[in-house]
């Protein structure tokens, strides 16, 4: 009697995903008007599947897709959860009965969004990051993780009467920065989490031209053919450093073209052998040859201040990789650039907590079908999937 006959319609509509509109380019130059057709995306509102176990994600800092189209993420775990309000079963003693505790740091999802692998944390013979950064999958399915150090602390909104606003004083007890040497390493594991290699050592940053030391590296990329690992080496270094992916031996390095990198935050390799580097707070994407020779650059949303606009980059899966997807964690969108010209062809997203919207979208990856995956840091704390139409 008290059921609504319209419910059927409501539920039928649930299956249709939101069409994420691609905005027109902000400046319609002749070059951008002649752009090739751009793919549209639908957010998949019901992906991935609920984690279960009372697990929640902390700030997600890295997303990658492997050769089997499995999706990998790394997140900051308990250190990024608010002890008093968020990590009720993850604190000692617990403050809640059924929820929530941090999921393991590294999660592997199959294409249906089911967790099929989980590991991470401190172990014998290596230094787990105080705060991870990017993640990349190597030649044999090896998993590389950068130790980026904690992100910038955001200025908070006004306090509330509901108790402390989530913030540093309410954070769960993570590794104390004063007692723990700062992140300065990249790590290589097997796909099941066996430690294989560490480059750099916590608390030992050396010089910006060091052949052994790193400083809060933000991201890694793997050149399977050459068996090399490219490191977006941040902190006081602000360079791209290249190492042998098996021995960890230093091979070469370079810094920003023109102006130095202000906040190097990603490194990605295209199939045709170019190195794409995110220079986040300069709102700049720079392209190099593998030997460090500068090729070209583009400013993306050049008026963006604050945290900057160029956080991470990934390529469309077509043979020519015609598009570059740039994650912009300040403007809360994914920019779609034509790779040839680096012109903005469109964007999707926006600020908010509902599906298809972002808070701190700092990671982007693409599968073999062209679906786009995003990771949100800060209080976004999500992995989202966007289906290519």
């Amino acid at each position: 009697m008290w059921r609504d006959h319209r419910l059927g319609i409501v539920v039928a509509a649930v299956g249709c995903a939101l069409l994420v509109r691609l905005d027109a380019p902000r400046a319609a130059t002749p070059a951008t008007l002649q752009r090739a057709a751009v793919h549209a995306f639908d957010v998949d509102r019901l992906w991935p599947k609920p984690l279960g176990h009372g697990w929640i994600l902390g700030s997600v800092t890295g997303v990658a897709v492997d050769a089997r189209d499995h999706i990998w993420l790394v997140h900051r775990g308990l250190a990024s959860l608010t002890a008093r309000t968020e990590a009720g079963t993850g604190t000692t003693p617990p403050t809640a009965e059924t929820c929530c505790a941090p999921a393991p740091f590294v999660l592997e999802f199959d294409p249906t969004g089911t967790v099929v692998g989980q590991w991470g944390g401190q172990g014998q013979g290596y230094d787990w990051p105080v705060s991870p950064g990017g993640i990349a999958i190597g030649r044999d399915g090896d998993v590389w993780i950068a130790a980026a150090g904690p992100p910038d602390v955001l200025a908070r909104g006004a306090d509330s009467g509901d108790g402390p606003v989530p913030g540093e004083r309410g954070r769960a007890r993570g590794p104390a920065p004063s007692a723990t040497p700062a992140d300065a390493q990249v790590l290589k594991f097997s796909r099941t989490g066996q430690f294989l290699l560490q480059i750099g050592h916590p608390g030992r940053t050396g010089t910006p031209t060091s052949t052994t030391d790193l400083d809060r590296p933000a991201d890694v990329a793997i050149d399977a053919t050459a068996n090399e690992v490219y490191v977006a080496d941040g902190g006081s270094h602000q360079r791209i450093a290249v190492f042998d992916a098996t021995s960890g031996a230093f091979k070469r390095q370079w810094t920003g073209h023109g102006r130095d990198f202000a906040r190097v935050s990603c490194v990605s390799l295209s199939k045709d052998g170019f190195v794409y580097v995110c220079d986040r707070t300069n709102d700049r994407l720079q392209v190099f040859k593998k030997d460090g020779t500068f090729v070209k650059e583009a400013l993306v949303s050049a008026t963006t201040k604050g945290l900057g606009s160029v956080w991470d980059a990934a390529f469309s899966p077509d043979a020519a990789q015609r598009f570059v997807y740039v994650a912009d964690g300040q403007d809360q969108k994914i920019w779609v650039l034509q790779r040839e010209t680096l012109d903005v062809a469109g964007s999707f997203g926006g600020g908010g907590r509902w599906p298809g919207y972002f808070f701190g979208v700092g990671s982007v990856a693409v599968d073999s079908k062209g679906n786009v995956y995003t990771g949100e840091t800060y209080e976004g704390k999500r992995l989202q999937k966007f289906l290519q139409k």
Binding site: R45, A155, G350, G351
Partner: protein, 398 residues
């Protein structure tokens, strides 16, 4: 003053005796509820079934963002009203509002938002204005049977409630900012969490609150204080009780915050004693009837954030939002037994971070808002009374 309240010594003594007689019964209910909740997927139970609507609401216009969402109410047209705190948005999020702007996203939405049934934003207002004191930290929204919008506030100095028309025109203010004088005062409040208006008697029940430890009842037209009471119907006492201890005997006073005071069709007042992890039920005159403990080992913010009633004529079911364990309990209103629950922690549809407020529309659909960094309005579509698991987890559409 005495004529306004049930404050004679004799009345309090009678109330206390009644409370003691019923304490054992209340604990019995609590025990039953705990057993029911403890069965992990222990078979099926007949209870209302819900599915999250991941398409609801529609995107906000104007690049608007919501802060902590700390109230939801439904009006006679089944419009969904929420109140949130724009001031809790960080400069990095409200980047377009900075001077000069930091980025293109986003701007703070006005504090009061009205959605139609389809989830379209159709009204928005709120904030400081002439003739009233907008709360330092707004909290709780209720639309009464005359269509008046009531708003509370739990800022450190908020001691008042506000009434507006549905288009945001100021109607009345009861109590004054900065004037809190404790739980036995007849003029002001102590950081009000929620309001509920009884259409039969035209009385407003005030969950009072984050500073005071009482339910206060007012004439809904004049704001005149009529009566108030504390836990078990005792005279309220503002002594700090210290942290909640699940192993201690039940506290004889509410802990802050008194977070809801909602009236059922059969004239019972259901009070959320949030940090004490309990619901207490009273007659309209403040006589204690019964209580139930919910997830009793929950510390921190507590388990009993807000509640709402099912929309069958008898209001057979009670829906209780637990913002620490991140779920909604489906309870039998009469026995206060937990039949089932749905929800889990997380940022995806049907998951929660600090599910704070809950309301039902005329079709029986549930709406929730999340505070802290959850900051969402979500809709759960009523699918009828069915056999459901004891622990439903995240209720996605099939």
């Amino acid at each position: 003053m005495a004529r306004h309240g049930i404050s004679s010594r004799r009345d309090w003594a009678v109330g206390a005796g009644f409370a003691l007689a019923l304490t054992g019964l209340g604990l019995g209910h609590a025990w039953l509820a705990r057993v029911a909740a403890a069965q992990p997927d222990g078979g099926l139970v007949q209870a209302p079934k819900f599915e999250v609507d991941p398409m609801f609401p529609k995107p906000l216009p104007n690049n608007w963002l919501m802060g902590m969402a700390i109230g939801v109410g439904i009006d006679a047209q089944d419009h969904i009203w929420i109140v949130h705190r724009p001031s809790t948005l960080s400069p990095a999020e409200a980047a377009a509002d900075q001077n000069p702007p930091i980025g293109s996203c986003c701007s703070k939405a006005p504090p009061v938002l009205e959605f139609d049934e389809a989830g379209n934003l159709i009204g928005h207002w709120g904030g400081p204005g002439e003739g009233y004191e907008w709360p330092q930290s707004n909290h709780g929204i209720f639309i009464d049977y005359k269509g008046i919008v009531w708003i509370g506030g739990n800022g450190a100095n908020d001691a008042h409630v506000l009434k507006f028309t549905q288009d945001g025109k100021f109607v009345a203010q009861y109590g004054h900012f900065g004037k809190n004088a404790g739980s036995n005062n007849f003029e002001n409040f102590g950081r009000v969490a929620k309001i509920f208006v009884d259409p039969k008697e035209n009385e407003a029940y005030i969950a009072d609150g984050y500073g005071n430890k009482r339910v206060a009842v007012l004439d809904a037209d004049t704001g005149r204080f009529k009566r108030y009471w504390g836990a078990y119907g005792h005279k309220p006492d503002d002594t700090n009780l210290g942290p909640y201890d699940p192993n201690a005997p039940p506290a004889q006073q509410f802990r802050n915050p008194v977070h809801c005071a909602d009236l059922s069709v059969d004239d019972l007042v259901y009070v959320c004693d949030r940090v004490n992890d309990r619901v207490q039920v009273f007659k309209k005159d403040g006589t204690f009837v019964k209580e139930a403990f919910i997830a009793k080992r929950t510390l921190g913010d507590g388990s009993v954030f807000d509640l709402a009633f099912s929309k069958d004529p008898q209001q057979k079911y009670l829906y209780l939002a637990d913002g620490m364990n991140e779920r909604v309990y489906i309870m039998l209103r009469d026995s206060l037994e937990i039949l089932s629950s749905f929800g889990d922690g997380g940022r995806q549809p049907g998951e929660f971070f600090a599910v704070h407020s809950i309301a039902t529309d005329s079709h029986g659909n549930i709406f929730t808002t999340e505070t802290y960094e959850g900051r969402r309005l979500q809709k759960f579509v009523f699918k009828g009374v069915q056999m459901v698991p004891r622990n439903q987890g995240v209720v996605w559409p099939k």
